[in-house]
Symmetry: C2
Subunit: 207 residues, 2 copies
DNA sequence: AACTGAATTGAACTTGACTCAGGTTGATCT
DNA sequence: AGATCAACCTGAGTCAAGTTCAATTCAGTT
């Protein structure tokens, strides 16, 4: 009964991408609740009601942003760890990849993790619910990405045996906790954060 | 110019505590945005407008909940680590204390960490802003709690030297990341989580 | 030129937080 | 007991922001 998500093929004068970009900026800087939907329209240069041609609701737009970001994260993990056999090296590469992001992607991360709770309960409308379900599926995929990495390391005897699921959640939680406070304009460069967290993760998992 | 927060001494028929309790339940289970302010009133057994006798706004109530929870966290940290001299033992005690909470406190934690972003920007109304500023101060205190613990361990030579501020943020981030997904009704008991995270924190900080 | 579907709009609707002008209650004092 | 006064409460209404809807424009096709 799952409603498939068909990424709408952009008509030549579609403003969907522009809306998503503007929404990421607004939601990321000002916060989802605090930004008026009409402001997003203004930035794109259309009337507020035109937004509803592309998104069913403000929340539908938010959920779409979250899903896209989750997909990006999952894909990036997969491609960076694919050809690394040593678990420790794979873990290091995965952490580095997690922090190898543009400023715009930082905003997407912030939006995603500030609204994870949205994925818990069901939505009323069809298209919102479809996005939510897909996003939840991707969350589980990402969690599995990390736990599988740990399981592999444990079965190879490189990592001590522990509850991989729980430890995976911990590693992931540590990594994404950064997006709550990190600001590109802040005093700490992302490279420095990346290095410290990389080390912390390895110590956490190995010994 | 800072407006002090005077905890209103409860008149004998004040419903303030009842409202806070009901709000924690609602906001924690249903989410802040999703719960109607009027439902909270209903639960307490008063009309919606009576809420405004105690809180300036729905958000003011939320900020109050957050501030109270932050104070509780800070106080608990302080009292559990006060008489522990060994840094490793202090760290272990602090982590265990962080997870030694009632179901109601779990909800408060969830609410707190789901709305941390509220503390970033300034508020329009006086009393909201006062709560926000106080909450921000408490956040900094809690962060200092953890970094100080690390600094002490490092200067005693028990922990290797690292950026204590960043590492402290990491430890704290790891610990509180649990509140995003943990449910008392879930499959994993808090005791198990506590043990795993305790070990992870020690490894992260020591070697 | 007629047709089609995507894109857009102004005006109206809905919902839920909040205001206001007063009314009730009950602890305390004389 | 009765008066008093602040704390407490309410119904009716306001307002802002998200959303709906019927009608219109626009670009490309036949």
């Amino acid at each position: 009964m799952a409603t498939r998500i068909v990424e709408p093929e952009a008509g030549p004068r579609s403003k969907r991408a522009a809306i998503l970009a503007a929404a990421v900026d607004c939601f990321g800087e000002t916060g989802f609740e605090a930004t008026k939907w009409s402001i997003v329209a203004e930035r794109v240069g259309i009337g507020q009601t035109a937004l509803y041609h592309y998104f069913e609701s403000k929340t539908h737009c938010l959920l779409t942003i979250m899903r896209l970001e989750l997909k990006r994260s999952h894909d990036k993990f997969t491609e960076t760890t694919a050809d690394v056999t040593d678990p420790v090296e794979a873990l290091r590469a995965a952490v580095r990849a997690a922090y190898d992001v543009s400023d715009h992607e930082v905003l997407q991360m912030r939006i995603l993790h500030n609204h994870m709770d949205l994925l818990a309960g069901p939505r009323k409308s069809k298209r919102e619910e479809a996005e939510r379900v897909e996003a939840r599926r991707l969350v589980q995929l990402v969690e599995r990405d990390w736990t599988n990495l740990l399981v592999r390391g444990m079965s190879m005897g490189v990592f001590p045996l522990r509850d991989a699921q729980l430890l995976g959640a911990g590693v992931l939680g540590l990594i994404v906790s950064v997006w709550r406070w990190y600001r590109p304009s802040g005093p700490t460069p992302l490279s420095e954060i990346s290095e410290l967290i990389e080390g912390a993760c390895v110590r956490m998992v190995a010994t």
